[in-house]
């Protein structure tokens, strides 16, 4: 009698910056390649059609013990996730994630940013974190800390001019990531300052 294929164990979701990775302990069988199949159901399915599970977009048959479910989790509701092992014609029982996952629990890291100057222009380029991210950028002339300016930058990955700088005066910038879909934002990044060389004009 063929031993039943063990089900994957220790399911967990690691979610950072709206990238959700379902992970589990691999099923190890000597000289065999075990595959896995991942399925999900949103709160709607669990409430209205609980028998329905939907094959994950990227992992209906996958080799590694992890699956990027970011394209499956498309609403801000709890999602059930399950995995089973596949070996040839054999399939294991399903293992279900203990706690449903909601994308509003994702970890939002400080946004990477590069502050530079182009001629007299103060320029920022933010990390491209994907279409769900916007950024609140705050910038000020160092001696005028009370006079902060802010600007919403709709997407990362492109240099954005903030202001025309006076020579000889340092300007500082900090930024935070905004994810409207879950109504949350990251903490502010460390401030970075740049300066255009030259004689500083007297402050009016």
């Amino acid at each position: 009698e063929v031993a039943a294929l063990p089900a994957p164990q220790n399911l967990s979701v690691h979610s950072t910056n709206m990238k959700h990775l379902l992970m589990w302990s691999p099923v190890v069988l000597a000289e065999e390649t075990v595959y896995y199949s991942v399925e999900y159901q949103g709160e709607y399915e669990s409430l209205y059609t609980s028998h329905i599970w939907i094959p994950s977009k990227w992992c209906s048959l996958t080799e590694g013990p992890e699956c990027d479910v970011s394209d499956d989790i498309t609403a801000t509701v709890p999602y059930n996730l399950r995995v089973r092992a596949i070996l040839g014609s054999q399939t294991s029982a399903w293992s279900i994630l203990e706690e449903p996952f909601n994308r509003n629990s994702t970890i939002l890291t400080l946004p990477g940013m590069k502050v530079s100057k182009d001629g007299f222009h103060l320029v920022i380029e933010l990390e491209d974190l994907g279409p769900q991210f916007e950024f609140l950028v705050v910038y000020w002339r160092k001696e005028l800390v009370t006079k902060e300016h802010d600007k919403v930058v709709r997407r990362g990955g492109i240099p954005v001019p903030l202001e025309t700088m006076e020579p000889g005066a340092p300007y500082c910038v900090k930024a935070q990531a905004l994810v409207k879909a879950i109504g949350r934002n990251s903490a502010f990044s460390q401030e970075e300052c740049v300066e255009v060389q030259g004689e500083a004009l007297p402050l009016m």
Partner: protein, 152 residues
């Protein structure tokens, strides 16, 4: 994100995301609706032509119609369509929960206008066999989304 002002009930929804998800299956869903002489969501019952104070109730009824009798009755073996339906259904569920909050705070009053308009929509819906009605109303989701977009 879109802020929907439904009388004194205000909810935030990602209408553009929902629109984008539906646009991926719209043509195939509408193509499976063979009865193009008949329409369930008619301009006479539109959200934006409803008294603001009644809009929350009408929308709540419409969302429940989709959740209870449309998404679950639309049969497909195509996984892409299934995923899009799941995404739409869970977004509708999020909106329904927000409207439920308004209902709890007494800002989702069902007046005569909302009740009558929904009664008409339901009577159109029930003139068709459940599966055909689900296909038609799912195909008319772009009409509902435009109503919501214009219900400023």
């Amino acid at each position: 994100l879109k802020i929907l002002h439904l009388g004194s009930c205000v909810i935030v929804t990602n209408l553009q995301e929902i629109q984008s998800e539906f646009s991926e299956i719209r043509d195939s869903v509408q193509a499976s609706d063979k009865n193009i002489d008949f329409r369930i969501l008619r301009n006479t019952g539109s959200l934006q032509d409803t008294e603001p104070s009644d809009r929350c109730c009408l929308l709540r009824h419409l969302l429940r119609l989709y959740l209870d009798r449309v998404f679950k009755n639309y049969q497909t073996s195509d996984y892409h369509t299934l995923r899009k339906l799941s995404s739409l259904a869970n977004s509708f569920l999020t909106m329904k929960k927000d409207l439920q909050l308004c209902h709890a705070y007494m800002t989702c009053h069902c007046g005569e206008e909302a009740t009558e308009k929904y009664r008409q929509i339901l009577s159109h819906f029930e003139q068709l066999e459940p599966q055909a009605a689900a296909v038609k109303v799912l195909g008319e989701l772009d009409i509902l989304l435009r109503w919501m977009d214009e219900a400023e």
